[in-house]
Amino acid sequence: MKKVLALVLALCMVFALCACSVSTSAPKAEEETAAPTEITLWTYPIGGWGTQETVDALMAAFEADTGIKVTVEYLTYADGDDKVNTAIEGNAAPDLIMEGPERLVANWGAKGKMVNIADLFDDTDKKEINPAALAACFADDATAYEYPLVMTAHCMAINKTVFEAADAMQYIDEATHTWKSVEDFEKAIAAVYEHTGAQVGAVYCVGQGGDQGTRALVNNLCGGTFTNPEHTEYTWGSEENIAALKKLYDNPAIAFDSGIAGGDEIALFYNGTLNVAFCWNIAQQLNPNTANTGAAKTASGDDIMFLAFPADGAAKLQGGIWGFGIFDNGDAARIEAAKTFIKYFCDSAKTADAVKAANYFAVRDTAEGADLSTIWADNDIMAEYNVLMPLLGDYYQVTTGWAEARTAWWNMLQAVGASDGSVEAISAAVDQYVNQANGK
């Protein structure tokens, strides 16, 4: 017994030494030996970039071509930010991170944690990349914290089979994937509500995951905006937005649900409990659900149709831009390797693979001569989704205080949901949180 105990203890100590050495030795080792550099990449679930199988294949190809080994960690939207924040505080931030400018530029970049990669953009790149995406990646003229890869427009979705049964498809322009008007949206929801006798949609408000959906819903409904055009102030306290919140509150078929998050809403939509989903984009449209009934189907096999958010006039869709940024870990060799990585996946003949993996649209039509405009030619759903891309609205996620604003947003939705629904109560809740977002 004693011997066993001693052995176990000894083993523990050995393990301890080894484990400690992992972190202590790692950076030094690289400085001394120019041998194969290892870098780390953390990705959010951006289409296939959140699936280990897909990413492993890409990384294997990258290692074969460049000799750089990439260790990948997968984050989720529910706790990914917390993880990166603790890692930064713990001096263990990854070399590369894949997400959008709202985090890379407006948050971590603004806090001085990212490497300026403006030198990666040459004049051709600047011409090729979609101007909106390019602008979002630059903090100022000479400072870029992100190299964009793909973009999309976030949208909503309906259970087409149920809508047809409820005779609600007449309110939808199927060719352009838009609602004919806000009134038609309300009529359609009412028709489905009458048909099923159950709640149709939910304004989910636990946490910030998927909040682009609730933001776009509220902003479009009465023509409000989330920030001013200069991106200096949050304007979701405007009358239009309050009116929109009131409309949603008063709609008997749509509930403010402080018990579910964006991911729960999608699960409920897949299983047929809800018949509209506000947290949707092309990646969900392409991914089969867990019941494996196929892409663009619910668990029971109903058809899913993606739609722009209801608006009078052209809807302004919330854009999603994703790319890579480099955390400043003070190691020149690793930063160099990370830049090689970005060049390889975002601006080379290999970019097509990276874009395809993401299931989104490339931010450019050509990269170093390679044609990217036709990579989705054989994919009907993607081709169809293209109709939404012109509706892309202002990319306001780079406004100062974005992290605070996001947190304030879902807290505000909860407060509205818990209020008595009077205009005064709603505007009181909105005012309180919009002031918090604006740092007042």
Binding site: L5, V8, L9, C12, F15, A16, C18, A19, C20, S21, V22, S23, T24, S25, A26, K28, A29, E32, T33, P45, G50, Q52, E73, Y74, T76, Y77, A78, D79, G80, K83, T86, A87, E89, G90, N91, A92, G209, A261, G262, G263, D264, I266, A267, Y270, N271, T273, Q284, N289, T290, A291, A299, S300
Partner: protein, 317 residues
């Protein structure tokens, strides 16, 4: 008349004991239900999970959830990094190359389970050893600074760990321990409950016995290992059980300190799965079953020791 009253009393007593037995049984069913729901849920298909009418028992035992759990993420079974050793002398530098040993790739859930066991057992062993040594001298020795140390121990015991999370995180990163299992183990070991407990136990051992051993010429260390340790063994057992359960359940420290997929514990792993783009209760239940069933089996096997340990901890603590 007197017997009548006694009779009535006995009847009442009997009725009450039947009533209480029934209530306890109902409560017991309610208490086991979540576990039952985890285990059956992990075998249900998506449709059964999401059905508004609960499926009390899976119609067929579907392994899909476990399949997804096992294929979703992979991680090396173990990995060790032997640091680069470089020796410099007389202007020459000898590099004994750094070496990383990586185990075969397995489903990440397996690695998480291994990490969890390693963390719990590791903190348990180290805590027992350090706490027994410290408890012994705090109980049996007179030395300068004893009162200060002991009052610090008592004060720290009531402090919730979460309070110190921010400084602790900064410290771990300065020590290069962030995102290693040790960052979770060390604060548990530093937690003074074990010391307090074992000090109480050691106080119950007659001082004469310790002194007799010293007079026989045994060294301090021998006295500790041969006399003291065997006598406070029950206390060490209680300390072991407390530390084990605490570290197994210590979600908070793990959440703050661990980030890499390969370093997660099973609780943290399941919690992470919750945040996937669409909530999948089947997958979550499979993870929960994997996290809880092993420890429940351990608990049932060592049930007697658990109860004994808990009671003893309380009597002395």
């Amino acid at each position: 008349m007197n017997t009548n009253r006694l009779d009535a009393n006995a009847k009442k007593k009997k009725a009450y004991s039947i009533f209480s037995a029934v209530v306890v049984i109902i409560l017991a069913i309610l208490f086991t239900f979540p576990l039952y729901w985890i285990i059956t849920g992990s075998f249900k298909t998506g449709a059964e999970i999401n059905s508004t009418v609960p499926v009390w028992f899976p119609s067929e035992w579907d392994m899909g959830n476990y399949q997804r759990l096992m294929t979703k993420r992979t991680a090396p079974l173990f990995d060790m990094n032997i640091p680069l050793i470089s020796v410099s002398a007389f202007g020459y530098t000898l590099n004994l190359g750094g070496l990383t040993i990586t185990g075969p790739t397995v489903p990440a859930a397996i690695r998480w389970l291994i990490n969890t066991v390693f963390m719990s057992v590791g903190s348990m062993l180290i805590t027992c050893l350090t706490a027994a040594m410290a408890g012994y001298v705090l109980a049996k020795k007179r030395f300068w600074g004893k009162t200060i140390i002991f009052s610090l121990v008592v004060c720290a015991m009531a402090l919730p760990k979460q309070v110190i999370l921010i400084p602790l995180l900064r410290e771990m990163s300065a020590l290069n321990l962030y995102d290693t299992i040790w960052a979770v183990i060390f604060p548990i070991v530093g937690w003074p409950f074990g010391v307090f407990l074992l000090k109480q136990f050691a106080e119950g051992i007659p001082t004469e016995m310790v002194e007799a051993c010293r007079i026989d010429g045994a060294g301090e260390w021998r006295t500790f290992t041969d006399v003291m340790f065997p006598m406070i063994k029950p206390g060490v057992g209680a300390c072991a059980i407390f530390t084990f359960i605490n570290s197994w359940n210590d979600y908070f420290m793990q959440l703050i300190m661990l980030t890499s997929n390969k370093n997660l514990t099973i609780s943290l792993g399941i919690a992470t799965m919750q945040g996937e783009s669409s909530t999948d209760y089947g997958l979550l239940m499979a993870g929960a079953a994997l996290a809880s069933v092993p420890i429940i089996i351990v608990f049932l096997i060592f049930q007697k020791y658990f109860t004994k340990g808990i009671t003893m901890g309380a009597v002395k603590g």
